[in-house]
């Protein structure tokens, strides 16, 4: 996949398929330590050790495990190419945590890309799921928790056109406001 945001979207889709009602997505760009961390936690049905082994093998995943496809091995390969790795913690009935880390400055690291678009695709999911999204760049943070938004909206779904426009704007604005820091610093030299 061309962007890390597409991998994130894919992992969250897995979580939704696994029956999660709440998914936490944390993207941490630590420029001093030169790390980029993707951390996705869900409260879905979880996986046994045996299933974790199977989902990490791109050639053994079969129709019987259709809620998890090729996505995880692809993300693991992307992370390992960039001096990083991927770990999965999961237990049946207790949800799943997928964590991938990359060397931020690695030449093979795909750009994070359109995170706002990826998170919008999650919020528009046919199965209503709450998304707690945190994106940190250095000491700046953008946080977006759909549970708080749902509370305000009461019975109006997130897919309602007016709400969707609002969500899209809110996500984009939050992401844009995160951007300038690192380039500005470099330009001052």
């Amino acid at each position: 996949m061309r962007e890390l945001s597409l991998h994130v979207l894919d992992i969250v889709e897995n979580a939704i398929e696994a029956g999660a009602s709440r998914v936490e997505v944390k993207i941490e760009e630590d420029l001093e330590q030169d790390r980029l961390i993707i951390d996705v936690r869900d409260n879905g049905r979880g996986m046994s050790q045996e299933l974790i082994q199977r989902v990490m093998d791109p050639f053994c995943t079969s129709r019987t495990t259709r809620h998890v496809g090729l996505g995880l091995p692809l993300l693991a390969a992307a992370a390992r190419r960039c001096d990083g790795d991927l770990t999965i913690e999961s237990e049946p009935g207790r949800g799943t945590r997928v964590r991938a880390h990359f060397r931020h400055s690695h030449i093979d690291r795909a750009p994070l890309g359109d995170m706002a678009g990826a998170m919008l695709a999650v919020l528009l999911s046919e199965r209503a799921v709450d998304l707690d999204y945190i994106h940190r760049v250095g000491d700046q943070e953008f946080r977006f928790d759909s549970a708080e938004i749902r509370k305000e909206l009461e019975d109006i779904p997130l897919t309602h056109p007016r709400v969707r426009e609002w969500l899209s704007g809110a996500l984009r604005e939050g992401e844009v406001n995160l951007q300038p820091v690192k380039t500005d610093r470099r330009l001052t030299f």
Binding site: E17, G69, I156, H160, R162, W166
Partner: protein
């Protein structure tokens, strides 16, 4: 939480939306985009964006939803269009550049784009 300064906006949206929910469930349009691994890899997120842009440009009000893999991975991006009172039509391999014609023909002119359609499903309410 950065955004909640805009809570007032949300409240306004809710009040307006509540008024038209009943009408919408009876006459509404749903567009459903496949967003499994296969869909994402085939460009489904860009398809979804193109749909949102097209709807905005044409001032068409429709619910857009994403779903997981339905098992027709080679046909992704899959886009289903469902209008109240009509059957749901499934379109295959709808990348962003197909969206304009799809919306124009299906939603504006009201006929199915035969060459892209691969199936007809039972409709359900929004």
């Amino acid at each position: 939480m950065v955004r909640l300064k805009n809570v007032e906006e949300l409240k306004k949206i809710r009040q307006e939306a509540q008024k038209d929910m009943v009408v919408r469930t009876q006459t509404g349009t749903r567009i459903i985009v496949g967003m499994g691994t296969c869909g994402i890899a085939a460009g489904a997120r860009e398809t979804m964006h193109a749909i949102l842009k097209e709807l905005e440009a044409r001032k068409i009000e429709a619910h857009v939803e994403t779903v997981g893999c339905v098992g027709m991975c080679a046909k992704e991006p899959l886009v289903d269009i469902e209008q109240a009172g009509k059957s749901r039509i499934r379109y295959a391999n709808i990348t962003a550049e197909h969206v304009s014609r799809l919306i124009e023909e299906h939603l504006v002119k009201g006929h199915v784009v035969q060459e892209w359609a691969i199936g007809r499903l039972d409709a359900r309410k929004i």
